[in-house]
Symmetry: C2
């Protein structure tokens, strides 16, 4: 493997054409005769030519980069600790691999969020994946730059990845009901959060369908919130026998609160979470949860950006599917989950 790095000039020479023609082929621009194009492509292959991204960026004025933006809570280690972001990155990296595109990570604090959004939008090239950006800021970004896709349903004009949150929440309640639970409570996320809203809707539909009482509480999407909400719920309605919790982190807190109240999971209270993140297999008992294909969604979002400007209002739908572990009662005749009841790989 030689040290020499071929330039477009070399390619042109090898193919017996000018630099410009080589450039056209590389960027598959129109206006190159088929035979020439073939020769250039052969030259590229045989030389192992790879365009220099810096020269390209300098000459054309545009860079190839995808931005990932997340609002970080300054007080917490959010970005770092929250299982969600790692999954988003994990989904993006493989699709960016080999397409000469840099991945820029932005963690912006709540305070200067609007300015940061403007700045990122102004410098965007291929576009941005919004990992956890509230609707108003997402819309703001979209107003300044169309090359953007949100990982969650948000302002209706902003292209977004739409997991079936409604169906997932409905299915969770349905499962609890099938398991025999009749006093089913729900721990929801923040009022303003779009995902939380959808999951709330699914829950509401299900309780209407099954004729259940509405027992619910709202809190922030974190373990502590889940703990508090569950504690409150249990005090107010001691006969609760099943809880749907709108995210795994909260569900971890819910299980702790149930245990602290002297009840057992799932014997006294069944719990279903949402996400299927790493924490789902680390709770005790391991958490039954509605699995979200976060990595796939992130990959799809990235591909969208790579392919051009995503059409405004686009929604890509993703299914949410039940992952049974041990925080829900087992119905007679059902095989127990594979011991030790979690992902084998974690």
């Amino acid at each position: 493997m030689s040290k020499f790095k071929p330039t477009i000039e070399d390619v042109g020479r090898a193919a017996g054409v000018s630099r410009a023609t080589a450039s056209r082929v590389i960027n598959n621009a129109p206006g190159v005769a088929a035979p020439l194009r073939a020769r250039v492509e052969a030259a590229i292959a045989s030389l192992g030519y790879r365009p220099d991204e810096h020269a390209r960026a300098l000459a054309s004025g545009r860079t190839r980069a995808v931005d990932v933006v997340a609002i970080s809570c300054p007080d917490a280690g959010w970005l770092g600790n929250h299982p969600y972001f790692g999954r988003v990155l994990a989904g993006m990296v493989p699709v960016l691999d080999g397409v000469n595109t840099q991945l820029r990570l932005h963690a912006i604090g709540r305070g200067q969020a609007a300015d940061a959004i403007d700045e990122i939008a102004a410098n965007a090239t291929l576009g941005a994946v919004l990992a956890d950006v509230p609707p108003d800021l997402a819309a703001r970004f979209h107003r300044r730059c169309r090359r953007v896709v949100s990982m969650v349903p948000t302002s209706s004009v902003v292209p977004g990845m739409a997991a079936d949150n409604i169906g997932g929440a409905y299915a969770a309640i349905e499962e609890l009901h099938r398991l025999g639970c009749r006093r089913i409570a729900a721990v929801h996320g923040p009022i303003l959060n779009p995902c939380a809203t959808e999951r709330r809707t699914g829950h509401r539909r299900a309780i209407e369908r099954f004729g259940l009482a509405e027992l619910s509480a709202d809190e922030d999407f974190n373990r502590h919130g889940g703990y508090r909400a569950t504690q409150r719920l249990l005090e107010r309605h001691p006969d609760i026998d099943g809880i749907f919790v709108a995210c795994d982190l909260m569900a971890a807190g819910a299980i702790q609160a149930i245990t602290a109240s002297g009840r057992r999971v799932p014997d006294d209270v069944s719990v279903i979470g949402f996400d299927d993140s790493i924490v789902a297999s680390c709770t005790n008992p391991p958490l039954t949860t509605m699995g979200l294909p976060v990595e796939e969604m992130a990959a799809a979002a990235t591909r969208l950006l790579l392919d051009g400007v995503p059409p405004s209002g686009l929604r890509m739908r993703f299914p949410v599917k039940l992952v049974r572990r041990d925080s829900t009662r087992r119905v007679a005749g059902t095989a127990p989950a594979e011991p030790p009841n979690g992902l084998m790989n974690c």
Copy 2:
């Protein structure tokens, strides 16, 4: 805020000097008279000049980038799911912020690891942070490129961030002993893993010091491994009353296994983990653990790379400190952990 982006030419003109001089000031190269330097600096400030990284890279032949490399298990969603990597990134991002340096993320599979390492080393610019790279590959990287720092102690020539794994493990056993445990077992990580080795050493020293029997098992650093090891240990030594587990993920499995055996945590068996990652607060009961300052370590590693070539064999030491939650018995007179016994922010 105008749309105009000043170039080095503008700076030169504003300062009444040539482009070359401006360039020298920008790169603080020697050979510029103090007064001129001051004028150029003033011009830069007033114009809000920011050098174009692409032009710079093209002209100089070098880019400003820091690589992060992690070995990913292909079968698992490792990079995405493992709480560790998110923390590493979270530590790096803030120090890279505003220094015009790109962060390249590499997740390489076990198979083509050596090739990938060579490739990354060949293209490294500011250098690489090795997040989870085994000693032989770390050494290989270092042989090809000195601009590298490992997040864990590894081959002795490779600069590394060294958490006090030995002291941490020792302190964990010490705590268990203080709490009254006398049949203390240890669940260790893989034989070849440097961190696991150090934690094993700390454990060994402590049991010698306290005159305890050596009850231990080795498994992979994941929940499943922790589960299996604990299960085995409990079968062989039913009188175990405390377990030190070499990482939080394993500890989550350990708690599950203890519960599954009909014992209670911490009443029958106390558990101490290692890392203080997100999962530590999500187990049930919340996990007492030895906290590792991963974000700080990653930040330090990044700064090292930014500052030049880290000296071979460098070790930066970081303390590991006990975080008390509820998986360890409470001694009489000790205040209970803050309810709900976890990080308030997660």
